[in-house]
Symmetry: C2
Subunit: 147 residues, 2 copies
């Protein structure tokens, strides 16, 4: 785990703010180098799929010209939802580090744990709470401002 | 439920065969009209996200210029995986009809049921086994041929 990658994910999250998107950012790392980044653009792109993790996986597959992201690690500022946790599993990302927990929709421990509760043919390691306060503060400020 | 839409989804699934992709097809229907189609292009696009359902949701969001697909129904030839079931939930699709069951990865009853086991803020209705034999046969033939 390298805290600098989560700091970079937080920087990505800030980009979502420009288009009134919930600020979530993600980076994908391979061999200790960032190979792809992403941030939430659901409102900007008017597309339900455009969460930070999906955008980052999309970019990583393009970078590597491969659908398999084995050996890659994802740093994401918020606990992945079922769609994104499922996409992490599908793309065979090896490890996920996330920031804040997501009580209502989190699929890596909060609502359920897709990487732990069910036995799939691929294991994803995970750890939450990395720069949790910074991620939470960014989200809290966003939701306070739009109210 | 209109069986013609599942027949159309099966036609879409056949397109996957051209690029040696697992044959799965999907259509999204609104007001009894098809507004988007999709088929599995994971190998073709070298992208782990490119399942039939994701491609169809992507197209539907573009067609409607909106991330909310409320009132839409999806017909898909195979039980959605966790990523796709999560995407259906995220895009607020109202109903899902699927063909064959997917024992190892199905997230609408087989491995678990994302639309039933957990309480999210949005309900998705679902029904499996629509033209199940036709969908299964297409998949079985594909896997027999590549071995």
């Amino acid at each position: 785990m390298n805290i600098e990658f989560m700091k970079k994910a937080l920087k990505c999250a800030e980009k979502s703010l420009k288009t009134c998107d919930v600020p979530v950012g993600a980076v994908i790392v391979k061999d200790n180098k960032i190979i792809a980044t992403g941030y939430n653009t659901r409102e900007k792109n008017r597309n339900a799929l455009c969460h930070a993790e999906i955008n980052a996986i999309n970019n990583a597959c393009k970078t590597l010209s491969c659908w398999r992201l084995e050996g890659c690690e994802m740093y994401v500022t918020l606990e992945p939802c079922p769609m994104c946790a499922g996409a992490i599993l599908q793309s065979k990302i090896s490890k996920v580090y996330f920031g804040a927990y997501e009580e209502k929709f989190g699929a890596v421990g909060s609502k359920f744990n897709l990487f732990y509760d069910y036995k799939f043919n691929f294991d994803v390691k995970f750890r939450g709470g990395i720069l949790e306060e910074e991620s939470s503060l960014l989200l809290k400020t966003f939701f306070e401002n739009i109210r």
